[in-house]
């Protein structure tokens, strides 16, 4: 069986890469995908701990996180579509005038 520490390191690396991608990339769609990458890193660590403990509740929690992620993207993409229809740009810098 693979070392659990190795998988947790991969999980931390994926989360870090996702966070940095959100900061450095300019395209709003790509930023959304990096958010998904961060969530995948977190889910990997949760799955590894679930397997270590051997509790079904962990798998149910992972399933709920999947459901929330799907709902999140179902809200985020229409908001993005509306935003781009109004501003004609995928550059977050073009929306500096947004309030609140």
């Amino acid at each position: 069986m693979a070392d659990t520490t190795f998988l947790l390191a991969v999980s931390g690396l994926l989360f870090t890469l996702g966070l940095v991608g959100v900061i450095v990339r300019r395209n709003l769609l790509v930023i959304l995908m990096f958010l998904e990458l961060m969530l995948n890193g977190v889910i990997l660590s949760l799955a590894v701990f679930t397997q270590m403990v051997g509790a079904e509740a962990g798998a149910v929690l992972v399933f709920l996180v999947f459901v929330v992620a799907a709902a999140e993207i179902a809200i985020a993409v229409p908001i993005l579509l509306l935003l781009v229809r109004a501003g004609h740009s995928l550059d977050p810098g073009a929306y500096g005038g947004l309030k609140g």
């Binding site: 870090t16 590894v48 270590m52 459901v67």
Partner: protein, 180 residues
Amino acid sequence: MIETFFMSVFALGAVLGAVAMFFLRHPMRVALALIGTMLSLAAIYAQLGLHVIAIFQVLVYVGAVMVFMVYAIMLLDTRDRSFTERFSPLLVAGAIGLVLLGGVLLSGLLRGEPISAASASAGELFSIGPFARAFMDRFWLYFALAAVLLLVAEIAASAVLEIRRRSYAQAATEAKRDHG
């Protein structure tokens, strides 16, 4: 031995996909790299014996979330500054953040106690049958509550979007009338 080899290959595939997302310009290629990362993670879950999570990873993430994302990319093929310039002015700060956060996480893992390997019974526990029985016996209420909360959130977001859409349409009509 061979399990460790395949685990390392899939972990490398996941990290390489994540790194490729930084350097690819077109959002569709970034989406394909992310799909590669997600499939590698599904293979890791399957190797860990977490069959339920592996199936949901493919069904929900690759099958639903990423397909939705690909539709959005096809709808929004805008060739503006975000396409010609990949990185924001925060590139140097992001690189420093990558080194710092990655260093802190890795040093925390390496300095801590070695974590014991997983239990051997995980494969039986997280196959479809036992998971479905436990889910329907003990956890159905939590899932129903989460589903109701998410439904309320979706309806609220849709209502807000509809209000904004109507205000945009009204403003456009008034602008056209003023122009005419």
